[in-house]
Amino acid sequence: MDATESVAPEIRVRDLHVILEKREILKGISVEIPKNRITAIIGPSGCGKSTLLRCINRMIDLVEGASVTGEVLIGNVDALSPGIELTELRRRVGMISQTPNPLPMSIFDNIAFGPRIHGERDSKTLDATVSRCLKTVGLWNEVHERLYDPAAKLSIGQQQRLCLARALAMEPEVLLCDEITSALDPISAKHIESELLAIKNEYTIIFVTHILRQARRIADHVIFLYLGELVESGPAAEIFSSPKDPRTKEYLEGVFG
């Protein structure tokens, strides 16, 4: 895992502040996230993990009254710059949320939704994309006979894998995962974890979790947030074996959290 250091950073966050109704949720975060690795953001509830995630694809814009300052460079584009094309940003930065949220349409249409709104009309290409993405998340064998059934009929675990496939269909560079296994049963969670591991060489995956064991299992890189501040970040092996900050140490030992 030492290889992490040599990888060029995909995302550079600089002095990121988020203020919501006079409360500072993020207090000047600066951190680098390596390309094509799994980065876990850990920390106790309310520390700003999800907020940090939502700044990267600007879903934070939906929060009324949130003021965001700083820089979030993805490659060399600042996601926070006011002139940025949000639809294109969100095509490059896919997101999977905590609870599965299939769109009210068929399995096929759920996955084709992204490519379609971004201008893909060719039905052969769409067919190929749908089957490729479903195969990537290991859902193809389970659903290929009922692609035109409503997505809502799938089990929760299948729905979450569908959401992952849906994000992959847009061929993003970055995947934001916001506690995506927390609503799932252990077996489905395992599925998702192994799928993320399988695709991590092609995507920069940022994974919010409050389950330390999960972070240990899949993360290459770790960011520890506490009360809106960045306490420590670095390669997973280092952070888990020899944390520098006493707060990280205490959190990892389960003293608080």
Binding site: L62, T87, N101, L103, M105, F113, G114, I117, P150, C163
Partner: protein, 302 residues
Amino acid sequence: MVRQKGIISRRYRDLIAERAVLIPAILVSVILIAMVIVFLDKASPIFITQPITTLLFSSSWHPLSGQFGFFPFISGTVWVTLLAMGITIPISILSAVYLAEYAHRRVRGVAQPLIDLLAGIPSVVFGLFGILLIVPLIKEQIAPLAGVNSSGYCVLAGGLVLAIMVFPIVISISYEVIRAVPTEMREAALALGATRWETVKFVVLRKALTGIIAAIILGFSRAFGETMAVLMVVGNVPIVPQSVFDPAYPIPALIANNYGEMMSIPAYDSALMFAALILFVIVVAFNILARIVLVRVYRKGV
């Protein structure tokens, strides 16, 4: 012992509750069936004078000589209702979308009580509004613009007044339905890079479709039978309207205007009962049709 007694009494109460909710349900059905029976019975004399096809499709309405052709009234009802529907559906859905998805909290706070207020205004007030504003507007502005002569008392006036009456109901329910679409679903679409409008069009409206259809059904079940306001502006001439600027004579207006007054004419009484029956059948047919649409939408699993 105490526990045992508790169980029995709870079971007993459960039984009472079951009966208590069943009785009103039966009562409503009985009323519905009774209405049909009464209408059929009272209308039966008219079936002897003329065959039912003549009653439904003849345009000659001469009660004095015993000719009762209901076609002008049926077409009047259909014209006015369809026109009102055509105006209401797009306006209501767009306003509901605006209020639920785009409007600032403060705008919503003002608009919502206003719409609810509009829904509560008695229909005779809407009728007066129609006479004072819509009728002259059509007579002096809209009809000349279209190059026709009109008294202003016409299908268009009826349709407009009806639309104004129906849309508060449709907006109000559609708004609630749209607000009930889970936020996660909007976020899913937005996070995939959809614009706000794409999110509304492909996700929110799709999810809300069944509820919006239900809102439209509710609105128009009222519209079909709405008497007062329409009667005041629609002209009440028993002809088959050829354009929206022609007067019409919808069925509810026919019944309201004539019941109890023309009873010296034989069979008039049963003719009006037959009119009521026709109206009843139209509303039931509309509801069944709407049900079928709803079921189809449900099957698509939205």
